[in-house]
């Protein structure tokens, strides 16, 4: 089944998720306020690009956010990501919301929300610990 997905923030992470989702046959919309960010999308990307500031709700509505099944939030600002995650859950009731936070403390503010958070810091830390323990076993 095809899946409508909105990706907010077309940085390295956002663009690579967009490319993969598009290749897998999903209907993908990517939003960023910087036109150059779309250069990161590959030639296989067949979705829509919207040049807009996502903190303006009109832009989200223009992107038909209400019909999305998944929203992935990966802008460069944790505060913008936090706000968008809250809006996607409380205002638009999106079934699946994924958000990236550089600051792990942001997790304290999404506890009661239907939001999945990704913390690059935590992932790097866990990977380091795993590598160390592998080394110790050798």
């Amino acid at each position: 089944m095809s899946n409508k997905m909105l990706i907010i923030g077309c940085g390295r992470l956002g663009a690579s998720i967009a490319n993969e989702a598009s290749l897998a046959g999903n209907s993908v919309v990517v939003m960023d306020s910087d036109k150059k960010a779309f250069d990161r999308l590959s030639d296989v990307f067949s979705g829509y690009k919207i040049l807009a500031d996502a903190t303006d709700l009109t832009a989200l509505e223009d992107a038909n956010i209400k019909t999305c099944r998944e929203v992935v939030i990966t802008t460069g600002s944790d505060n913008v990501n936090l706000f968008l995650a809250h809006v996607c859950d409380k205002v638009y009731r999106i079934p699946h919301i994924y958000v990236r936070f550089d600051d792990p403390d942001k997790g304290l503010l999404i506890k009661e929300f239907n939001v999945e958070a990704i913390y690059p810091f935590q992932l790097s830390h866990d990977k380091f610990v795993a590598l160390k323990s592998q080394e110790a076993k050798k």
Partner: protein
Amino acid sequence: MKIVIAGGTYEAEYIIKMFHSSKNSLVVINSSKEEAETLIKREHVAVYVGYPWRYFVLDEANVHDADVFIALCEKDTDNYASCLLAKKCFGVKKCICVVNNPRNVDLYKDLGIDSVISSTYLLGQSVKSESSVEQLIKTLSLENDRICMIEAVVLSKYRVAGKKLMNIAFPKYASISCIYRDSRIIIPNGQIEIKTRDKLLIVCAPEDQNKVMAFIQQER
């Protein structure tokens, strides 16, 4: 009162000046070192340098259990994140969030911020209430627009002029809280007669404002 002032330049300076007294304990946080130095020099307050949306900054600046938290940063989302953090993790009683985009006023309130202020929004509200009423009637909104106070001057052609309050069947959804007559204040009861040139102060809900004004302005 324990007041936290987060971010801001001249607005922060103004607020600090207003509340800097022995009665209040101020916690000032600013992310710019230069701005912090200016505030220290001009207002003689301690300024904690850091981002008010970071947990450790609010923790180290000790905003725990503050009465009021005012977020004055440039970006709306920074103020949003700071206010929520202060409210949810530090037990701050009331958060005031300043925003540039007037559309964020209702949205941020719905998302849990106590009070959201936008100068454009206030300007719009004030123009709206000024233009919806005639010259002799002024309105004032209280409690974030949930209570409306109407000030109406009684003209001789109005039906209510010269009548006792008990005889005019004043609408139930509004109340004349005070009559201002010849520089005197009268707290009305049923026996009081409304006279020409009286200034009536009427309290009602904003949605009833137009009905109340129409009632007062009925002519004989």
